[in-house]
């Protein structure tokens, strides 16, 4: 279990308790945090659950797979150092306090 903070473009913050094994994407979808579309529902197939992992957390989140890196080419907003597909970040205790920033658009 971890508390994940989703930060909207305008600065509004949402602290959400996400169970172990759920993804950062599911944490948003299941708790009404807007800004993650997740069209494909977590299949690494749509690139619409893009988020920016906060600089302080980039090194602490498991590295993206090769497929995720390829799919990140398809995100609609700027791709930055912290860009990840949130369906691919699985929650465990070590991510308690994780901060992710939501992009301006998903498509």
């Amino acid at each position: 279990m971890a508390v994940v903070t989703y930060v909207e473009q305008g600065g509004a913050r949402h602290d959400v308790v996400v169970p172990d094994g759920d993804s950062v994407m599911q944490g948003a979808i299941n708790n009404g945090v807007e800004g993650i579309a997740a069209e494909c529902g977590g299949g690494l197939a749509c690139a619409t659950c893009h988020c920016y992992v906060d600089d302080a957390w980039i090194a602490r989140v498991a590295a993206p797979s090769e497929t995720e890196i390829e799919m990140l080419d398809a995100v609609a907003a700027d791709r930055r150092a912290g860009s990840r597909l949130s369906c691919q970040i699985a929650i465990d205790d070590s991510l308690d306090g994780l901060v992710v920033h939501l992009p301006e658009k998903q498509y």
Partner: protein, 408 residues
Amino acid sequence: MAATSTAAPGARIPAHVPPELVYYAGITEGAEFLAAPHRFMAELHDKAPPIFFSPSEHSHAAWQLLKYDDAFFVLRHPEFFTAAGTGPFPRDPDDYWRIIPLEIEPPEHRKYRAIVDPLVSPKTIGTLEVSIRRLANELIDGFIDKGECEFAKDFGRPLPVGVFLDIMGLPRSMMDEFVRWAMGLLHAQDRAIAGEVMAEVTAYLQTVIKEKAAAPDGGAVSAIVHGRPGGEEMSSKEIFGFVFFLFIAGLDTVFATLNNIFVWLAENPDRRQEILSEPDNINNVVEELLRVFTVTFSGRTLTQDFELRGIQMKKGDRVTSILPSCNYDPDIFPDPQTVDFHRPRKPTLAFAGGVHSCMGAHLARLEIKVCIEEFLRRIPEFTLTPGTAISYWPGGVVGPKSVPLSWK
């Protein structure tokens, strides 16, 4: 690029459609299409305008979209392009029911989709892998020693039906009935037969809905019957529309996809070898085969006048995304007709897009993966039975009628 205006008989072209954009491609029914449907849809990019107006494709006069970007735009803007009323099944206007969740748009859509999302999430679907693999092997056991099978009938049909029954919480003993219904409803090409089958399916589903209301279980029918979108009970029509939709959406698509893929595998022994030699690349194999063998179309209706790619469309116009063509868009997938298992991964339109993106996508991917793996593992060398000419079903799910395979 000259568009032909070979209009189908009786076609009415609305006054706002420029004559140069009227084009009859014969999608799902013309001889050229039926000879090699996916090559035909790939080559439409060289023949037809990127958006054209067809007098009768898929039985409705509609704008047809070939470009990947246009299709995603339409699918992602349900406020302009609604799926309401676009379901391809005849319904009595005096006793109308909506196909759910397809014909419900945001914000209500999410409440309905949430009822079944947990049953089709990647995590839940992953737990089915063992049972899908077992079913695949049972089916292979049934024909491996004969040295031949009719893949569509012996494998392509029963596998997705069996998996579907499990997910729905229906008994495997219904397999033969469901196979017959799927064929009658989707491929009979006869309205009377389709009507009779529709009545049988309706009666069965109504009975099951009653049973699950009384005795809930972990299946999808029960989840729907006991679902409370937005806290409200659904009407019996809504429950029926939801259960019926899973029935029509879940059965024919995987069937057609598997059949398309196995024709290709039979004709490409070197590519089978490539798949077998790179077992860790199987997910990319599945994704690429889904791209080149996309089987469906997405229909929408305009809620207001709208300009797309410089073309003025009117409220009430129908718009069809030719998803198989969109996945051959050369601007997105260079050298689109080449099947490349190492193509950089990009989103495809195999499962459409937007809020109505296919909810069974994870299941479909898993079924296709397991079928390729198990079939090739046990029968690595096979061909189309000599003398076979593959012919295709007309209609909105693109696939061959039969796939006779032989091996030694």
